[in-house]
C-alpha cells in the first residue's frame, strides 16, 4: 500500500509539474511555499502539518480517510480543504471502493465552506469524484455551476478537460477547451502572471492553445467528428514547441497519433508518435506498439524498429560544467567514452 500511495503522490507531483504546471505555471512558483514555511504557523496549518505527519506513517487507507475526515470536521474551510478532500476521494475510490462515502464527505464539507477559493477547491474534488464514477451529467452541471459562481482560470478549465477525458465526457471536453482558448494569449497569461516576461508569456499563451486543441481534437474524434478532429490538430501544429529530444511539450502528438490509429492509419499514427514513444510517455509507447501491430499484424520487429529509431532520434548531450559541493568543477566532456546517467533532481 505504501508503494501505491507514493506512486500516487508522485503522480500528483507529476500532474502538477508536467500537466497543469508545465502547461502554465511559471517555474518559480514554488518559492512562495518556501517563504510560507519560514513564517509562524497558524493553528489550522499546525493541525494540517501534524495530520500529514501521521498520514505519511500509515499504510492503511482506512486510517488515512479517517484522518482526512477528522481534519475536515474540525477545519472544513481552510487552504487545506482541497488537499484533504482530494486525498480522501482518492482512497475512498481507488483503495476502498466506497465512492458513496467520498460523496458524503465532499458534500458535508462543501455545505460548510464559505470562502470562495476553498469552495472552488472543494467543487473541483466533487468534479474528480463525478469523473471517477462516470456521472457525466453531474460533471457537466457542476462545471456550469463553477463557471457561474467563480471567475475560473485557465488551470481550472484544463483540469476539467482532463477529468472529462478520463470519464469520456466528450461534450464537456469540447466546451472546456473552447472556454480555455479564451485564455490562450500573451495578454491573458500576463493578466494572471504579471511578473513574467513578454517572451515567456507569449510561449505560455501558445502552449495553452495547443493543450486546448489537443484535448478538443481527441474529444471530437470520440464524438465521431473525424474530419474536424484532424483539422483541430493541424490548426495547433504551428504553435507547438519541442524539447531537446523532439518531444512535443503538450499532449498534441499523443492524441493526434491515437486519432490516426483509430482512423485506420497506423503508419501516419507512428510518424506522429515516434518521438513521444521513444522519450515521452508510456501511453505514447503503448499507442505506438498498437499502431505497429495494426500495420504488421503482429508485434514482430517492434523492439528492433524502436532501437533503430532511437539511434536516429538520439541527440548529443549539451556540454556543461558544474561544481560539486566542495567547489571542484566537473566538465561533462570528461565523461565521454563512459555511459552517463544524468539525473536532475531537487531535494524537496
Amino acid at each position: 500500500m505504501t508503494q501505491r500511495t507514493w506512486t500516487w503522490l508522485l503522480c500528483v507531483a507529476l500532474v502538477t509539474t508536467w500537466g497543469c504546471g508545465k502547461a502554465d505555471r511559471p517555474a518559480d512558483d514554488a518559492s512562495t511555499v518556501a517563504d510560507a514555511a519560514t513564517e509562524e504557523l497558524s493553528e489550522v496549518d499546525q493541525a494540517a502539518e501534524e495530520t500529514w505527519a501521521i498520514w505519511e506513517e500509515t499504510e492503511d487507507p482506512e486510517v488515512k480517510v479517517g484522518l482526512a475526515r477528522d481534519f475536515l470536521e474540525r477545519y472544513p474551510d481552510s487552504d487545506h480543504t482541497g488537499d484533504f478532500l482530494g486525498s480522501a476521494v482518492y482512497h475512498f475510490t481507488e483503495s476502498l471502493d466506497r465512492p458513496d462515502e467520498a460523496y458524503e464527505l465532499v458534500e458535508a464539507t462543501l455545505s460548510k465552506v464559505e470562502d470562495a477559493d476553498t469552495r472552488l477547491d472543494a467543487q473541483m474534488q466533487l468534479a474528480v469524484l463525478h469523473s471517477k464514477t462516470e456521472r457525466l451529467e453531474e460533471l457537466s452541471t457542476l462545471a456550469d455551476t463553477m463557471a457561474e459562481e467563480h471567475s475560473i482560470q485557465f488551470t481550472d478549465h484544463l483540469r476539467l478537460m482532463e477529468l472529462g477525458i478520463e470519464a469520456g465526457a466528450w461534450n464537456l471536453v469540447v466546451e472546456q477547451a473552447e472556454a480555455g482558448l479564451a485564455f490562450a494569449s500573451t495578454q491573458a497569461f500576463k493578466a494572471q502572471w504579471p511578473d513574467e516576461s513578454d517572451e515567456y508569456a507569449a510561449r505560455a499563451g501558445q502552449r495553452r492553445s495547443v493543450y486546448c486543441m489537443a484535448y478538443k481534437g481527441w474529444a471530437q474524434e470520440n464524438l465521431g467528428q473525424h474530419e474536424a478532429a484532424l483539422a483541430t490538430f493541424s490548426g495547433a501544429d504551428d504553435d507547438t514547441t519541442y524539447s531537446l529530444l523532439g518531444v512535443d511539450d503538450t499532449p498534441l502528438h499523443l492524441y493526434w497519433g491515437k486519432t490516426l490509429l483509430l482512423q485506420g492509419e497506423p503508419d501516419a499514427a507512428m510518424a506522429k508518435l515516434t518521438a513521444e514513444a521513444l522519450f515521452g510517455s508510456k501511453e505514447a509507447k503503448e499507442s505506438f506498439a498498437e499502431a505497429w501491430t495494426a500495420a504488421h499484424d503482429s508485434d514482430d520487429g517492434l523492439e528492433e524498429r524502436l532501437w533503430a529509431l532511437r539511434q536516429e532520434y538520439a541527440k548529443p548531450l549539451p556540454q556543461f560544467a558544474l561544481p560539486n559541493y566542495e567547489g571542484e568543477t566537473f566538465e561533462s566532456t570528461e565523461f565521454i567514452g563512459d555511459v552517463m546517467l544524468v539525473a536532475a533532481w531537487n531535494p524537496t
Binding site: 507529476l14 538520439a314 556543461f320 558544474l322 561533462s332 565523461f335 565521454i336 555511459v339 546517467l341 536532475a344
Partner: protein, 102 residues
C-alpha cells in the same frame, strides 16, 4: 525518491564504465548536503546554481524533477525518464546494460 535508488546501480556498474551524475537544482545547499549524507550517496553530485537560475537544467531543457537522461559512450542521449516511480530502476538497469555493451 530517485537518488538513493541510483547508488546501487552506480556501485554495480561503475567498473564497467557507468558514471552517475546528479544535478541539484534546488538553491538550498545545506539541505542537499544533509540528504546526500543521510543516504550515503557517493557518485558525482553537482550543484546547478547561478544566481536564481538553473543554467544547466535550462540547457538540458529539464522543466520537471526528477528527470534523467541516459547517455551512450558517444555522448548521445538514448533514453530519458520523466518522473520516477518505484520499479523504474529495473527498466533503467536494463537500459544501462544495453548501453554498456557486452
Amino acid at each position: 525518491m530517485e537518488l538513493p535508488r541510483l547508488e546501487p546501480l552506480w556501485q554495480k556498474y561503475r567498473d564497467q564504465g557507468l558514471q552517475v551524475i546528479a544535478i541539484d537544482s534546488e538553491h538550498d545547499t545545506e539541505r542537499s548536503v544533509e540528504f546526500i549524507a543521510e543516504n550515503n550517496l557517493t557518485y558525482h553530485l553537482l550543484e546547478d546554481h547561478e544566481g536564481d537560475d538553473n543554467v544547466v537544467a535550462s540547457k538540458l531543457e529539464i522543466y520537471g524533477f526528477p528527470t534523467s537522461y541516459l547517455v551512450d559512450r558517444q555522448g548521445r542521449i538514448l533514453f530519458s525518464h520523466i518522473g520516477f516511480e518505484e520499479g523504474d530502476e529495473v527498466q533503467m538497469e536494463e537500459e544501462i546494460r544495453k548501453l554498456l555493451g557486452p
